[in-house]
């Protein structure tokens, strides 16, 4: 049987937060929330884990830093040492002070781009990707909860709808679930 989904629409971020708290307390698993802007504090309520994007940036930064240092050591010390104004070029340590700016820039370059690309890939937001927000107004001023029936095996669709209707909803709708991406 194809999965079905219940969409509950709200018109305020604080209302949807209160409603989510109540529904979760009732034992309903909220699959996702669509909103036009980040709702602070909704993540722990619906069980979204904290992102690890910060670690990604750190790792990419390390890669960038090592690449810059290895690269400059190879170019300037190993492959073709140049005597420029009598400045030391015999070892990486001696020449390090003038390598600092590029090492820093390269670290930032790698950390920023590496994290941004990972972010886009993980979100599946890439040029040409289809959007999968259920209603166009969720990017304007509507807040929508997505409750998949397969995530809530202990409730029937009617039970969930009844519980959702007790909160301050604008509308509630049950649909065939179509996975877009």
């Amino acid at each position: 049987m194809a999965d079905r989904v219940i969409y509950a629409m709200y018109d305020d971020d604080d209302v949807i937060k209160t409603a989510a708290k109540k529904l979760v307390a009732d034992g309903i698993h909220i699959t996702d929330v669509f909103s036009p802007f980040p709702i602070h504090g909704i993540d722990p309520i619906i069980g979204v884990k904290h992102t690890r994007m910060g670690n990604v940036a750190f790792i990419f930064g390390l890669i960038g830093m090592s690449l810059a240092l290895f690269g400059m050591r190879y170019f300037m010390i190993v492959d073709w040492p140049m005597n420029i104004g009598g400045k030391p070029n015999f070892s990486l340590m001696e020449n390090l002070p003038s390598f600092i700016p590029i090492t820093f820039e390269f670290t930032v370059l790698f950390a920023a781009h590496g994290m941004a690309i990972t972010y886009l890939l993980r979100n599946k937001t890439l040029p040409g990707m289809p959007a999968d927000n259920p209603y166009p107004r969720t990017t304007d001023d509507r807040f929508v909860m997505e409750i998949l029936l397969s995530d809530n095996p202990s409730f029937t669709a009617e039970e969930i709808q009844a519980k959702v209707k007790q909160t301050d909803i604008v509308q509630v709708e049950e649909k065939e679930f179509k996975k877009i991406k």
Binding site: D14, D32, P38, V48, V108, A116
Partner: protein
């Protein structure tokens, strides 16, 4: 919810809802462009094309067509380069540094300031490239394996640091700007009517749908990018100043340059933001979002950084005497009293005296006055770079080779042309891009919106006790 003191001035005026914010920002994108827009765009396009023509001519005949001579071998090109990079510093400062400091007033101006940054850095990057004379070998600045033996670029040279700094800055600023733009493009996409607009904004919005997990990542990614961009902003203009500071030319060889250049960059960047936003808010009817308070905050930044620049000028003067180096002392004496005394006088009045007027509350809250001062500061900062570059070298160690610099029509054309191109990009941006970070402005509506602050907003969030009590207390 984040609480804010009731006596703090609201950042969003009038009775606005989330939907109103969307409407106010999208109106200009969805409607027809006013005639003034076409006029402005047309003028910038023509000026920009003239500039492109001058650049092509320059590439054809070589940089001998500039007014440079064997004494003054750096002049307008590098002046313009540093000027544009400086202007480009405000955008990232607003979006990154003010974000780390949790300044909510940045939300209304960050998008446009970042756009300004990107276009300005783009203009800046052009000058070193065309100064190479042979643009087609511009890729030689990259450490590429090549056929000239294993000859690599010189990683000890500040000029190469510049290449890395500017390109990192340009690309990271762009990424920062675009990541913020994606959700706003999605808003426009979901409202678009015409098939072309739907197609275009679908492509631009990368299929953003605003899931909770995505917003969670969005917030961390923007925070980390802000953390990365903050030292980047400071490093970029420091590295630009190394171009001068690591040389042994009297007047350039000073350790004060990095902090002094960074303060100057922020100073001129904010002036340019004022120039652009004062027009933009009027033309696009965004007075409720970018109002006197925002202008006042920016004027305070201008005043602070202007004072830093003033202190730097005076320190430089003092050190030239105190160092006891006669060449250094002469360089500064010549700046103030030599043939370029007028440029020095412009620099001093425009950059040191004019921002001090912002101490008066009446003046810093006056929009007309702010606009005037912003133009003055922009001009003054151009003169600063001109003074540093040209007056330090035009009378060198050998009096027989002393000379003056006179710009040719190509010098002027290339400079005016970049201003044209900059405004052309900016006009295109205000027409098709959301000029306000909608998603971000919506997050501060409840804490800093006027109607929410004074309690007149009809709170449809009746179920939230927290807000109700808060409302009663007000």
């Amino acid at each position: 919810m984040h609480k804010e003191s009731a006596i703090r001035e609201p950042l969003i005026l009038g009775h606005k809802t989330y939907h109103d914010i969307t409407e106010d920002v999208c109106r200009s994108i969805e409607g027809k462009a006013p005639r003034n827009w076409y006029i402005m765009f047309g003028i910038s396009l023509l000026v920009g094309l003239y500039g492109v023509g001058c650049i092509l001519y320059l590439l054809g005949v070589g940089i001998g067509t500039w007014g440079l001579n064997k004494t003054v071998e750096w002049a307008w090109d590098i002046t313009n380069f540093v000027w544009w990079v400086g202007i480009g510093h405000a955008g990232t400062l607003i979006s990154a540094v003010l974000m780390l400091f949790r300044q909510k007033w940045r939300m209304a101006i960050n998008r446009s300031a970042e756009a300004m940054t990107i276009f300005a850095v783009f203009m800046a990057g052009m000058f070193p490239l065309i100064h190479m004379g042979r643009l087609w070998v511009g890729y030689w600045v990259l450490p590429l394996p090549n056929e000239f033996g294993s000859l690599w670029v010189n990683f000890n040279s500040p000029l190469l640091w510049d290449v890395f700094a500017i390109s990192t800055y340009l690309s990271v600023s762009f990424v920062f700007w675009y990541i913020g733009l994606i959700p706003d493009f999605a808003t426009i996409r979901d409202r678009a009517k015409s098939p072309v607009a739907i197609k275009a904004y679908s492509l631009l919005s990368f299929g953003w749908s605003g899931r909770a997990k995505h917003w969670n990542r969005f917030e961390i990614v923007t925070l980390v990018l802000a953390g990365l961009a903050t030292p980047l902003v400071f490093s970029v203009h420091s590295i630009v100043s190394f171009d001068f500071a690591t040389s042994v030319i009297p007047g350039w060889h000073t350790t004060i340059f990095p902090p002094y250049f960074v303060a100057g960059a922020v100073f001129s960047g904010f002036a340019m933001v004022q120039t652009l936003l004062l027009v933009l808010r009027k033309a696009m009817h965004l007075e409720n979002y970018i109002h006197t308070k925002h202008v006042e905050y920016m004027n305070i930044v201008i005043m602070t950084t202007g004072s830093m620049v003033g202190v730097a000028y005076l320190t430089e003067l003092f050190m030239s005497w105190y160092s006891g180096v006669e060449y250094e002392a002469y360089a500064f004496l010549n700046r103030a009293t030599g043939p370029y005394w007028w440029a020095y006088a412009f620099m001093m009045t425009f950059n040191v005296v004019s921002p001090q007027l912002m101490w008066f509350k009446k003046l810093r809250r006056s929009l007309m006055f702010t606009f005037f001062i912003s133009i003055v500061v922009n001009t003054g900062m151009w003169f600063e770079r001109f003074v540093i570059i040209v007056t330090s070298i035009h009378q060198d160690y050998l009096p027989s080779s002393w000379s003056m610099f006179y710009p040719t029509w190509v010098d002027i054309g290339v400079y005016i042309g970049t201003i044209g191109l900059f405004f052309m990009f900016y006009m295109a941006y205000v027409r098709y891009f959301p000029v306000l970070a909608m998603a971000e402005v919506k997050t501060i509506l409840k804490s800093s919106g006027e109607s929410y602050k004074n309690g007149s907003a009809e709170l449809n969030s009746g179920s939230d006790d927290e807000i109700l009590t808060n409302n009663k207390n007000n």
